[in-house]
Amino acid sequence: MEVSITVNGSTHSSDVEPRTLLVHHLRDNIGLTGTNIGCDSSSCGACTIHMNGESVKSCTVLAVQADGQELTTIEGLAAVAESDGTATGDQNWHPMQEAFQNCHALQCGYCTPGMVMASTSFLKENPNPTEEQIREGLEGNLCRCTGYHNIVKAVQSVAGGAS
């Protein structure tokens, strides 16, 4: 089936099998490998991206369902921040990317793209969360390295900075 998807500002039209998962389409066909796959039951959130500004697990969306939609992956997050004037630091990153580095909220980095995408989307819905709310808000994203302590701190630091 023909699908046309706008990812990080570029439109990609391709012919895909109807059963193709969006995450495989992004990774194997479009070549955006920053979005990772950590499970096969929609449990881990490593594949979290933004579809029309909201976070979705891209393993739980078919490529054909994303036809005509606007997606942002980790590769495009800094550009989004730049265009809305929130980019920070020497790297011109999204504040969440900078906070993750500053708070040592990543180790192996495998869950990180999904965790960063989920965190930015969560703060959009709840700009001033409590620690408890952050932990609940990130419940769908698993990390095996950090014990979450520094991830929560990173999200708090962005929330604090934004308020």
């Binding site: 955006l32 192996c108 095996r144």
Partner: protein
């Protein structure tokens, strides 16, 4: 230049990871690649009558389908999958073929493999392979293996693989128990854990288009070990194999094996002349990635009337699973030396029997043997405290090595010599941070009021063995290799510094830490240091990453190689200054002549001088490049005290961790930010063993919870924020005075949590509870008082 070591320098690894630029194994592709789809046994133990591959072979894109029998006839490998640690001379180690021949031994055992030009196609074709099995009696648990009523391997007469004793003084043990005022006996169960790094395993073998050579990409912790083992298993010469670990998404022991997929992809790529790859699915991992723990511990202590312990006697039954993997039988032995914990216990009697089951093979998982040991001694310390009628903190205080005061070179009952320790400050600090007195008052109030939510306070003082390992010690344990680590430090003509390390990171931040060591040693900007690793072509010598060894062995090798570079550079500087080398001093990267500070040259400038070689001292070889293989004289022994507070809802059995305090001592710290991260993650993995995770099998050997839907890796919701602090007791085992930090968190946390759970439940007569302490188990313990291995006290 100010010191870099000891600062919280941000990681060099992070930028690529934060924008998705780095490459994990599944991000890398090769033209013409074929995907392997594994056909895995759906039965724990069965005779394979026949395998019909015809329908699969007709599927689009399928290039070949091979059964185990066909592969054996093709002679693609010389030897079965390796076990590098045959712990005894008479160990039973049935052959472990990459693909089962004749008989499948566990659910997940590979029985055939399809090769297809498409990821989805390989999965489709694998489903079309029809296997006709005759079920055989399965050994579905460790208890069943010990009972020996069914055999995990039909051609064996027992499930027992080995018996390994560490009983230095049997008469002393008998005497201690005969004369003891108090003895406590307990049975602890170390449930099977699935390591679950967030990146599943995966690999790709690419034969050189020019013929002969194979490049093997693998999500592995151990590229160097893999290279040797692939050569030994397949017969392909080592010099023709290059192993590369790209970005690796966590390991925790789960990626240190020589798995069937590695041998299959290499040999099939070699045979077919095309790249062959595989990416594990998470559900597949339950049967294909090795698991951790899987032990039953029979633990006894003997003590005098004051609770001073005279002997520990312990017998372990250890679940090997269906086959011996790389270090399967050695894992419980790594714990054997720690059953006396941080205590001055003059006598230890340890025995271990390894048993085969028809379950997924076991091997290393974060801590490997040491969390189990720490758990057993620290749980029984609390039981002994109750028996003697004193508090958990008092029983520990009465037993610490050297009364809790600082010591060096303590010979434990196991005969191992602890490098250094100072246990009381961590103990005191942890209890202060957790506010023990206030908590006990609040606990008493809630108990008196009969409130539904009860508090429990638990502590654990642990010591662990890391920095694996002195090669001679490994030889003494019948391990098949050494424990050194190799490093090269080279000054490039541009003045940049290249470090080549045999350690292999998978999230630990080696590039940052190694740059910091060089920055301090050589007086250079850490950003001028480039670290090469995880590629056997760039780093030909190495023994990789496990057992909290990277810093204490590999990092030390780097520091020593840097010293040698400085030594040589000093001779060049002296030559340039026309001064005697002994008059040249080195400070903050610059050489100068004592008393003439105007004459100075920076070590980075000497990089070019050594490269150009226009004016070197007579007879000196050009270039500044030195290498060191560091073989540590002893292990390093990190330690600490963890304390934790749980709130148990006695009406639902729910547990909430409301505070977690850890005071750890890993000697000098290179980057405290990285240490903190290692501890956070380690602690949560121990908490997960205590409260959430268990690979659950039915009696027929089927796993009930193979996916993340039902294998409960905790999320941010289930774990608390942690309070950490440190003491610093330098190691005497290496010149940097460092100890490892990667496994310490896990080694300290499970016992702390379970001590808290049991403390909360003690008014209900509960003495012990099996892990994981699920709401169901807790509720049943409160209400029926029977659901644990040691029974209740009602």
């Amino acid at each position: 230049m100010t010191a870099v070591m000891g600062t919280k320098m941000l990681r060099k690894e992070d930028p690529a990871l934060l924008v998705g630029e780095n490459k994990f194994i599944d991000d890398i592709h090769a033209p013409g690649e074929l995907w392997m789809g594994m056909i895995r046994s759906t039965m724990a133990h069965a005779k394979i009558n026949s395998i019909d591959t015809s329908e699969a072979e007709a599927m689009p894109g399928v290039v070949a389908v091979y059964t185990g029998e066909q592969l054996a006839e093709m002679g693609l490998w010389l030897a079965p999958l390796p076990c590098a640690w045959p712990v005894t001379e008479d160990i039973v180690n049935p052959p472990h073929n990459p693909v089962a021949v004749g008989e499948a031994k566990h659910v997940g055992d590979i029985v055939a493999v399809v090769l297809c030009n498409d990821r989805y196609g390989a999965a489709d074709a694998a489903e079309k392979v029809v296997v006709d099995y005759d079920p055989l009696p399965a050994v579905g648990s460790l208890e069943a293996a010990v009972a020996n009523t069914a055999m995990a391997h039909s051609d064996l007469e027992t499930n027992k693989a080995f018996h390994w004793p560490l009983v230095p003084d049997p008469e002393g043990t008998e005497k201690a128990f005969a004369e003891a005022a108090h003895t406590v006996k307990a049975k602890f169960i170390q449930q099977r854990m699935i390591p679950s790094p967030m990146e599943p395993r995966g690999c790709m073998a690419i034969p050189s288009p020019a013929g002969g050579d194979i490049t093997f990409y693998s999500a592995t912790q151990v590229p160097h070990i893999l290279k040797v083992m692939i050569a030994a298993t397949t017969g392909i010469p080592e010099s023709k194999i290059r192993v590369i670990a790209p970005s690796v998404g966590g390991g925790f022991g789960g990626k240190l094996n020589v798995d069937p997929d590695a041998i299959l992809s290499v040999t099939l790529a070699n045979h077919l002349g095309v790249p062959v790859r595989w990416t594990e699915t998470r559900t597949e991992a339950a049967g294909s990635s090795h698991q951790g723990r899987g032990q039953i511990q029979h633990m006894e202590v003997a003590a005098d009337e004051n609770g001073k312990i005279s002997s520990v006697r312990v017998h372990i039954d250890a679940d090997m699973g269906a086959y011996m993997m790389l270090i399967t039988p050695g894992v419980p032995l790594l714990g054997s030396f720690l059953y006396t914990g941080v205590y001055d216990i003059p006598n230890l009697a340890f025995t271990c029997d390894g048993h085969f089951t028809n379950l997924t093979p076991t091997d290393a998982y974060r801590g490997a043997g040491r969390p189990e040991a720490s758990y057993a001694i620290e749980r029984i310390m609390d039981m002994l405290a109750a028996e003697v009628g004193i508090t958990p903190e008092e029983i520990r205080a009465r037993n610490y090595i050297n009364g809790g005061e600082a010591f060096e070179n303590h010979e434990a009952a196991s005969t191992l010599v602890f490098d250094s320790g100072h246990y009381r400050p961590a103990h005191d600090r942890a209890l202060e941070m957790v506010k023990i007195d206030e908590l006990r008052a609040e606990q008493a109030r809630r108990r008196d009021a009969g409130e539904a939510k009860q508090l429990g306070i638990g502590m654990c003082s642990y010591v662990e063995i890391c920095g694996l390992a002195p090669s001679r010690a490994l030889g003494g344990l019948n391990y098949g290799a050494g424990g050194w680590e190799h490093a090269t430090v080279r000054m490039l003509p541009t003045g940049k510094i290249e470090v080549v390390s045999g350690s292999t990171p998978h999230g630990q931040g080696h590039e940052t830490a190694w740059s910091m060591i060089i920055a301090d040693k050589m007086g250079v900007d850490p950003n001028d240091v480039e670290v090469l690793h995880s590629d056997t072509a760039k780093s030909p010598l190495g023994l990789d990453t496990y057992g909290s060894r990277s810093l204490a062995v590999g990092g030390v090798a780097i520091a020593m190689a840097a010293d040698k570079v400085i030594e040589k550079a000093k001779l060049i500087a002296a030559h340039q200054f026309e001064a005697a080398p002994e008059d040249v001093q080195f400070e903050a990267g610059a050489f100068s002549v004592a008393g003439t500070p105007s004459k100075s040259v920076h070590i980075q400038e000497l990089g070019f001088a050594a490269f150009a070689a226009h004016d070197l001292p007579d007879g000196m070889e050009p270039n500044l490049q030195e290498q060191v293989s560091f073989d540590p004289p002893n292990f390093a022994f990190p330690f600490g005290t963890h304390a934790c507070v749980v709130e148990i809802d006695t009406e639902t059995g729910g547990v909430e961790l409301i505070d977690y305090v850890a005071v750890d001592d890993c000697g000098h710290q290179v980057n405290p930010m990285i240490v903190e991260g290692q501890l956070h993650g380690g602690i949560v993995q121990g908490v997960a063993q205590a409260l959430f995770e268990e690979a659950v099998y039915d009696e027929d050997g089927n796993i009930n919870n193979p996916s993340f839907m039902d294998y409960l890796v905790p999320s941010a919701m289930e774990v608390p924020s942690m309070q950490l602090d440190y003491t610093v007791t330098p190691s005497t085992s290496n010149p940097l005075g460092v100890k490892g930090a990667g496994e310490a968190g896990t080694i300290g946390s499970a016992a702390a949590v379970m001590n808290a759970v049991c403390d909360a439940l003690s008014p209900y007569g509960v003495k012990d509870m099996d892990m994981p302490a699920t709401p169901k188990r807790i509720w049943e313990a409160i209400h029926s008082n029977a659901n644990n291995s040691n029974g209740g006290a009602a």
